[in-house]
């Protein structure tokens, strides 16, 4: 007999099964290409954690995924599917560019950096608010609008970076370098300055901001009144109106928070690593955020774990390029697609089987769950 799964199985075992399925399929594809999947896995693990500086790189990627994963998750709590993280991050980066390029001749670096952080969030938020407003007040489907807004953002970037923002004497679409010191310090610099030897990596202070964001989102969703209303909006707009709140306003606020989080991703790339605005610095991280949120079940702790996994995949995947002729880091994109498929679209596939297995092992106990159901009259009437 089938039995509903207890919560702990649902949040721990089931995601693992889904990820395992994605990895098994990836392994089969690698084997079909003619390489040994286990060798590939070993190289990726070494590349992500073992080699000198590897962990720093892994955490640097993780930072991106925490931001974009949180962005998707916050919107998901209001049942909004924000596919626009990519575009929101781009515009966030553009915001940083405006602040820094405009002010670095006149203001001290530290002040500019402190200014750039909220501006990245605000620019990202604006790129989230517009689709949010369109959904809330004009009824346009947020999935389609955010897809369109990614393309629009990308065109704006091309137009500006190859036009008025292009560095003089440059041929590639990018701005000039930021002034000396206008950046988020890289962790190995700080560590070395404190006397701890640490290998060079792009990991920078934005990782700390990402961790703060994780905690802040947890508090927002589960400990604040706004979070409560956001979750209620996700499940039933009618109930929210009944309770005296305006769901349109909540949708717009949620999309502002979501877009702001995505915009913060630009801190890592623009202020932490590039120190100038370049084209396509988002590199698909916005879409990876969807996989991260799905895997992490929209919970900050799950998102942290999923971001670590994806950080490791990206860093380890880059290592594949060096070791193999035939498999490259695009492999990671494929694995990412499979993870979205198995932990998102096919999330329920293994549930009936799991319920049957669980039913076999717990046929006689679970008096509590029966008790809860005995009070429930059948709805077939």
């Amino acid at each position: 007999m089938r039995r509903p799964l207890p919560a702990w199985v649902d949040i721990s075992i089931m995601p693992l099964i889904n990820i395992a399925a994605a990895f098994v399929v990836s392994g089969i594809i690698i084997a079909l290409i003619g390489e040994n999947p286990l060798t590939a896995l070993t190289i990726m693990v070494k590349g992500a954690f073992v080699y000198k500086g590897a962990l720093g790189y892994t955490l640097y990627y993780t930072t991106n995924f925490i931001f974009t994963g949180l962005a998707v998750a916050v919107a998901f709590h209001a049942m909004l599917f924000n596919i626009g993280g990519e575009g929101q991050a781009m515009i966030g980066g553009l915001g940083i560019g405006f602040v820094v390029l405009g002010l670095d001749p006149i203001l001290p670096p530290l002040l500019i950096v402190l200014l750039a952080i909220p501006v990245a969030a605000i620019f990202g938020a604006i790129w989230g608010i517009i689709p949010g407003w369109l959904q809330a007040r004009r009824g346009s489907h947020i999935v389609i609008t955010t897809i369109m807004f990614n393309f629009i953002a990308s065109s704006i970037m091309v137009w500006l970076l190859a036009g008025m923002l292009m560095a003089p004497g440059q041929m590639s679409p990018e701005t000039r370098h930021f002034a000396e010191g206008v950046s988020l310090a890289q962790i190995h610099h700080i560590a070395n300055a404190l006397g701890w030897p640490m290998a060079r990596s792009p990991l920078n202070l934005s990782f700390g901001i990402a961790i703060i964001a994780l905690v802040a989102v947890w508090v927002l969703i589960w400990r604040t009144r706004l979070g409560y209303i956001i979750r209620a909006t996700g499940h039933s707009e009618k109930a929210v109106i009944y309770a005296g709140h305006d769901p349109s306003r909540i949708i717009i606020i949620t999309m502002a928070i979501s877009g702001g989080l995505a915009g913060l991703m630009a801190l890592n790339e623009i202020l932490g690593v590039q120190e100038r605005v370049i084209l396509n610095f988002t590199a698909g991280y916005g879409f990876t955020g969807i996989a991260v949120a799905l895997m992490g079940r929209n919970h900050p702790f799950g998102i942290l774990l999923a971001s670590l996994l994806f950080g490791a995949l990206y860093q380890g995947g880059a290592e594949l390029d060096f070791e193999f002729q035939t498999i490259t880091k695009e492999m990671v994109l494929m694995i990412q697609g499979l993870i979205i498929l198995f932990s998102g679209a096919l999330a329920l596939m293994f549930v009936p089987t799991a319920e049957r297995i669980y039913g076999l092992f717990s046929a006689q106990d679970t008096a509590a769950s029966d008790q809860s159901r005995s009070g429930k009259d059948s709805q077939n009437g």
Partner: protein
């Protein structure tokens, strides 16, 4: 004057070439979404089939075999989409997104494994592709003003798949609105329980719809790599699947209006290509990027209800669950 006219005619000709994959994908989208299944995986399926067509044509030399395999691969991914959304009631947007990302990674990975050219496929000889079909007397007609140039430049000189795309519009219209199958397909996207209680399987109807969508996407992909182009390049669809989706919404999920939207978007693309580098007085170079973004901007404006209202099929996006 004659020069300007020729430029115009050539732009129209280019419009048709650019619009062909959009038209095929928009029709694919109509079939899928009219049955209630959101299909943002048009992009991924087109990419996969472009890759398959180019690979098979390069390895075996036959464009027909390439087309056939492209269609099969695209339909297999339609089945995966269906398996997730219809059988397992998964989120249709997530499933489509997964296929798009998977396609982007898989094509490059497999491409490198086979050809070791960084994800590219080798350039195809003309006999490995669908080449242009010159209609009779096209050369001679060139000299006849207006009608002759239209005949020679716009009508003649297209490959077979362009004609297939145009034909697909009329077939889609016929199947949806003139057959009993079409009636059921539209009903399943509006009110699936009405179809179920009438003794027709909702599942089967929806699988049929996504398979037809796969077929059309497969042709679109093959067009890109072995008819319009002569090889596969990474991410060569470059958002065309999403533009087709936009065109379908613009056309209110109807074949002829969607065709018009595809042609309009194709025209924007063609004109942007022609205006590349043209200087506008007091402004500087033509902002062609901003022309290319118009389809997306227009779709946003349309969806916001500022120009008419786009009403999607009612049951779209919702997995069908029998009430208990």
């Amino acid at each position: 004057m004659a020069e300007l006219w020729l430029q115009f005619v050539l732009t129209i000709d280019a419009t048709l070439r650019v619009a062909t994959p959009l038209i095929l994908c928009a029709m694919a989208g109509i079939f899928s979404e009219r049955s209630g299944i959101i299909d943002i995986s048009l992009e991924g399926k087109m990419l996969l089939s472009a890759f398959t067509a180019a690979t098979v044509a390069a390895l075996y030399g036959s464009p027909w075999l390439g087309l056939f395999c492209a269609v099969i691969v695209s339909m297999i991914f339609s089945l995966i989409h269906g398996f997730a959304c219809i059988t397992h009631r998964g989120n249709q947007v997530i499933s489509g997104l997964a296929i798009n990302i998977l396609a982007s990674g898989l094509t490059v990975t497999v491409g490198i494994a086979i050809f070791a050219q960084g994800g590219q496929t080798p350039f195809l000889m003309s006999e490995q592709r669908f080449s242009a079909i010159s209609l009779p007397f096209a050369e001679a007609a060139k000299n006849i003003p207006i009608i002759g140039t239209i005949y020679a430049e716009v009508i003649s000189g297209h490959n077979l798949l362009v004609w297939v795309a145009l034909l697909s519009v009329f077939l889609t219209g016929y199947v949806l609105f003139r057959t009993s199958f079409g009636l059921r397909l539209r009903a399943v996207g509006e009110k699936p329980e009405a179809v179920d209680t009438a003794g027709i399987s909702v599942t089967l109807m929806r699988y049929q719809a996504v398979l037809i969508a796969g077929l059309l996407c497969g042709i679109a992909g093959a067009y890109l790599s072995i008819a319009h182009g002569a090889s596969f390049g990474r991410d060569m669809t470059a958002g065309k699947g999403y533009i087709a989706l936009a065109a379908m919404i613009f056309g209110h999920w109807r074949p002829i209006p969607s065709l018009m939207a595809c042609l309009m978007f194709g025209f924007l693309d063609a004109i942007a290509a022609r205006l590349q580098g043209v200087e506008i007085p007091f402004f500087g170079p033509m902002p062609t990027d901003l022309i290319l973004v118009l389809p997306y901007v227009l779709t946003v404006i349309l969806l916001a209800g500022f120009i008419g209202r786009a009403v999607p099929p009612k049951a779209i996006g919702q997995p069908y669950v029998k009430e208990r």
